[in-house]
């Protein structure tokens, strides 16, 4: 169970990105985070693995407060939290397999990894993960030779190399067309249902939220506006989350 308590993030220049946000996520749950651009979704996800340092508040996971963890502990915690990104964040000039293997860095011996030595088990695991998302035949291509959908699959395979217990997905389908979006989302669903990984996924499209998420939380200008099942987002709620001028589409 992941417990976020009174999380606040103020960026330099007094920009309030998260304002006293609290919620809990059960193990094995698929949680969607919705809200307008700039509402604090990305900041929230990044505060969980501390790519962004929270200003105040707690992120308690398995009894440990991630927000207070020392640097060493943090690296150890991060390797159990996978993350996929809107812009995939692959290293373009590296091979696909290298990108996937980099998901293993938290586990391997640092000195050996610096000279590109990975164990046979890690190599086999990388092949298996690429197989799973259907990009095994692209393993030796450069990452930037792949299409957008394929690149996001590399991102998922990389995150799965961490044998994660939590998967953070920061608008994973926002740069993809609707068909690809469903394909990527179903990979995340697999991971959630077959591997029992907790998924926290920020999304723009409500139909995706309805289709995949067990529960949704909504942010508006850093404030938690909604926490409940996706079906409970009616028109009134919708206007609360997205503002009075917003109209439902799709």
């Amino acid at each position: 169970m992941l417990e976020v308590k009174n999380l606040t993030k103020i960026y330099p220049g007094n920009v309030l990105a998260l304002d006293n946000v609290s919620f809990t996520v059960e193990s094995g749950e698929f949680l969607a985070v919705i809200g307008l651009s700039g509402s604090g979704k990305s900041t929230l996800l990044r505060c969980i693995n501390r790519l962004v340092e929270p200003t105040e508040g707690q992120v308690i996971w398995n009894g440990v407060d991630i927000a207070q963890a020392s640097q060493d502990e943090l690296l150890h915690i991060r390797r159990k939290i996978g993350m996929v990104f809107q812009h995939f964040n692959l290293v373009n000039r590296s091979k696909v397999v290298t990108n996937v293997l980099s998901g293993r860095l938290g586990y391997v011996n640092s000195a050996l990894s610096l000279i590109n030595r990975f164990s046979r088990e890690d190599m086999e695991m990388a092949m298996a993960q690429m197989e799973r998302v259907g990009i095994a035949d692209q393993a030796n291509k450069r990452a930037d030779e792949l299409s957008g959908g394929q690149q996001q699959r590399v991102g998922i395979a990389r995150a799965m190399m961490q044998e994660p217990e939590i998967m953070l997905a920061d608008e994973p389908v926002a740069s993809l067309d609707p068909v690809l979006a469903h394909s990527i989302m179903s990979h995340l669903e697999d991971i959630n249902q077959d591997d029992g990984v907790m998924v926290i996924c920020s999304l723009h499209f409500l139909d995706l939220v309805h289709r995949y998420a067990h529960r949704a939380i909504a942010l508006n200008e850093g404030v938690l506006m909604f926490d409940g099942p996706p079906k409970a987002i009616d028109d009134a709620r919708f206007k609360e989350i997205y503002g009075q001028e917003a109209k439902r589409v799709g």
């Binding site: 790519l51 060493d72 373009n92 000039r93 610096l114 995150a159």
Partner: protein, 607 residues
């Protein structure tokens, strides 16, 4: 709304004022740069200019086998008292007639030649009694072998005896061949290219790691609490001193068993075994970050053992290379430079071993101190941390200032322990203590930014010193020659490339960095997997560009004694041998142009 535009009169006044100011500025410029167009029309200077330009247009690269035909005619300068003695000219072969037959200094005479080889050319010289040659002019014979020139006689001391005027006709025979100057230029231009290559290579090897320290985006996120910073600062000098001292001791040990092959082989095998054992016991395939204290001690012991064994092997290899290289120089003959290469590599390994040992030990102790400090800061309560901080920060401040004091003492020879050690140490201690009281004990301070700032400052300092000036320093240390030039250029390359490289690091995409960091990778792994792949193409591009620059620089570095073709160029300009200078300039132009094409071709391939 009020019209804010100025009135036309004011605008005109401003324009006139500006024009006046510009005129004054340029007038002053003309005066200080001695602009004088009258000199450009001076007859004498124009003749000299023509002569030099013509010489430059004939680079001394190719020469022919020549046959020379010397024809002398006795000549009195000035005319002797009484009647001039008759001049008997042998008109059967080539002969020279001077009209008048004798004359005073600075008089004008006509010199005619008959029956010379047709269509040849050469100089006409006045041969003084001492044998010195003074050129009167040069001639070209027509198809009948006749020439005529007029010339002013030189201003010489009056001598009674007859001196001589000699016409030398030269004719090329056989095919062209490379002249002596041409060969020299070739040797020197090869030296120049390799000088630039070495300077670029070694400069780049140092610039790559330093560029990370000078990259703001990587460094500014490194923040450590005061405890950690203080212990790092204390760990570095202790580590450097300890590592250096131990390495030197091991070096003595290694030197003492020299000459005994069995001992050397045994040493290498033993050390290799030690490294192997240490690495098996200390390098697990899967890193458990929270191992017990005993496991940490074992691992630490293993690292130390491996380090000592590496030093030993390094020395043994160095000494073996020295011996082998020396032997090779004698046996390889024309390929002796390979032996010298082995010898010099061994020598540099011998020199670099204690230096690297000191640096690595310093880095290890420094980062160990940093980790201990970080842990202490994380685990202990605020008050305890503050008390510890007070002690270690004061100590670190004292150490830092004492080291700076020692450096100042070495430079300025103050030789006063109170002023170079005691006072700085006290000041440093006070500074450290004040810092402790000022900041929250566990607040992370921007240590990375300080390192970034210092590195940048050092780069800018070195870069602002022109290589020509650096050469002067290195010529004193390493003697006149290409080695001094290469080292000076290498140093400049470190600073210049370090800056360019670090700016490339600063402009990389941050997304992949974030992604790799999210996997739990440590800092070194993030750099290896997210930063390095992004910077390889621009690094190669800048490296090629720097080689290009270094080739151009090494052509003039010889002016300050740094070897290469510049030395030849300068020498020939001083000797007024413009044809030889022209050959050197031609060589430079060819090399620079071909470097340009090569480097752009290589760049295209990699980027």
């Amino acid at each position: 709304m009020r019209n804010l535009r100025k009135k036309p009169v004011v605008r005109w006044l401003i324009i006139v004022g500006v024009i006046f100011l510009v005129v004054v500025v340029y007038a002053f410029g003309f005066s200080v740069t001695d602009v004088n167009f009258e000199t450009t029309r001076d007859e004498v200077r124009l003749t000299q200019l023509t002569r030099i330009l013509r010489a430059l247009a004939h680079p001394d690269v190719i020469e022919f086998e020549q046959i020379e035909q010397d024809v002398d005619v006795p000549f009195h300068l000035p005319c002797p008292q009484g009647s001039a003695p008759p001049i008997n000219v042998d008109t059967s072969g080539a002969y020279v007639v001077v009209t008048p037959a004798c004359a005073g200094p600075k008089d004008t005479v006509t010199i005619e030649g008959f029956k010379f080889l047709p269509n040849t050319s050469g100089p006409v010289n006045f041969i003084a009694q001492s044998g010195a040659k003074l050129q009167l002019g040069s001639f070209e014979t027509d198809s009948r072998g006749y020439f005529s020139i007029t010339s002013d006689l030189p201003n010489r001391q009056p001598i009674e005896e007859a001196q001589a005027i000699r016409a030398t006709a030269r004719q090329n025979v056989g095919g062209p061949r490379i002249s002596r100057t041409g060969k020299l230029v070739f040797d020197k231009i090869v030296e120049t290219v390799f000088l630039a290559l070495l300077a670029t290579t070694f400069g780049a090897i140092l610039a790559v790691p330093l560029s990370f320290l000078a990259a703001q985006n990587l460094m500014s996120e490194i923040r450590s609490p005061l405890t950690s910073i203080s212990l790092t600062l204390l760990g570095w000098p202790i580590g450097v001193a300890l590592g250096g001292a131990i390495a030197i001791q091991i070096g003595r040990l290694a030197e003492s068993i020299l000459g005994d092959t069995a001992f050397i082989a045994g040493g290498v095998v033993l050390s290799a075994l030690a490294i192997g054992l240490a690495s098996i016991s200390t390098v697990p395939r899967v890193m458990e970050r929270f191992s017990g204290i005993s496991a940490k001690l074992v691992r630490g012991f293993g690292y130390v053992l491996a380090g000592l064994a590496t030093i030993a092997i390094s020395y043994l290899v160095a000494y073996t290379m020295l011996l082998v290289g020396d032997a090779l120089v004698d046996t390889l003959g024309p390929l002796g430079f390979l032996g010298n290469f082995v010898f010099q590599l061994g020598d540099s390994l011998r020199m670099l071993t204690p230096a690297s040992a000191a640096l690595i030990a310093g880095g290890t102790l420094g980062s160990l101190g940093g980790r201990v400090g970080q842990q202490a800061s994380d685990r202990l309560d605020s008050r305890t941390v503050r008390i510890i901080n007070l002690a270690v920060a004061a100590l670190a401040g004292a150490a830092l200032f004492a080291l700076i004091g020692a450096a100042i003492d070495w430079l300025y020879q103050i030789l006063d322990l109170t002023r170079t050690f005691v006072i700085p140490a006290i000041l440093g201690a006070i500074g450290g203590a004040l810092l402790t009281l000022r900041v929250d004990p566990r607040q992370p301070l921007p240590m990375g930014y300080w390192v970034y700032f210092v590195t940048r400052t050092v780069f800018n300092g070195i870069r602002s010193v022109e290589p020509l000036v650096l050469v002067i320093v290195f010529v004193v240390w390493l003697g006149i020659g290409p080695f001094a030039g290469a080292v000076a250029l290498a140093l400049h390359t470190v600073a210049a490339l370090g800056k360019l490289f670090s700016e490339q690091v600063e402009s990389i995409a941050l997304g992949p960095l974030e992604a790799v960091r999210a996997t739990g990778a440590n800092r070194a792994q993030v750099i290896k997997f997210a930063v390095v792949p992004q910077i390889v193409p621009p690094y190669i591009s800048f490296l090629m560009y720097r080689w290009d620059i270094n080739v151009r620089f090494s052509t003039i570095i010889g002016f300050a004694g740094g070897g290469g073709i510049g030395f030849l160029l300068q020498q020939n300009i001083r000797l007024l041998d413009y044809r030889a200078a022209s050959a050197a300039m031609l060589a430079i132009a060819i090399v620079v142009a071909s470097m340009d094409y090569t480097s752009s071709a290589i760049r295209r391939r990699f980027v």
